[in-house]
Symmetry: C2
Subunit: 108 residues, 2 copies
Amino acid sequence: MSYERALQCLSDPTRRRIFERLRAGPKSVGVLAHGLPVSRPAVSQHLKSLKQAGLVKDRSEGARRVYYIDPEGLGELRRWLDQFWDDALEAFKNEVEIPNTPSRRKKP
Amino acid sequence: MSYERALQCLSDPTRRRIFERLRAGPKSVGVLAHGLPVSRPAVSQHLKSLKQAGLVKDRSEGARRVYYIDPEGLGELRRWLDQFWDDALEAFKNEVEIPNTPSRRKKP
DNA sequence: ACATGGAGTAAGCGTTGACTTACCGTAAGC
DNA sequence: GCTTACGGTAAGTCAACGCTTACTCCATGT
């Protein structure tokens, strides 16, 4: 239902960097923002998008908010891609190496 | 090297529609444009992007240009996603259901 | 209670990018 | 040859979006 959102989210480089940094483990917003070339509010906004796309979850840990990867959105994306992959491979076999313009050829 | 481009490409709804229509088989630009809510030049531009991302290939068939899905870009995307997926699942197990704010709780 | 730090929200700005119309090259048919 | 269909390119427009600064809320510590 929302692989569209996941794609949309992961298309942005900054958002991807945030997401990839979460791969090492859960991190707070401040920690995520530190080392990125954008301000902390920007990171907050990106995290909001990622959350809506089902790509991350968060829990509050005292005053901090800790984010971590949610396999949900990633799974949807994967399913969509896999289903595509199968069809694509099969269709590709029928189309491989059909020469360009079999009708007429330029003669210099 | 270019899963970034693939993501960027597939994030656009129109481009996705074009790409998904190619799943049924190779199609010319005109056929692709017909039935889409955008003009034919727009489709041309999208196809250019898709091609640069390694998501489609084209061959000329007389006066027509026929596009079809190229598994190359799809494969890169899939590899990136899969590698992510494994890490994400494992990391997720350690983080499931940690309650919010174990320290202090609101009492109404 | 007050001060501090961590994080989400609002408003505004600037850029990116998806779309349009108009134009140009090229291949097929008369 | 000329004409017609097909498709890529150019230039310009407008909305979407990523970022910033400012403000506010909440949780902790002294």
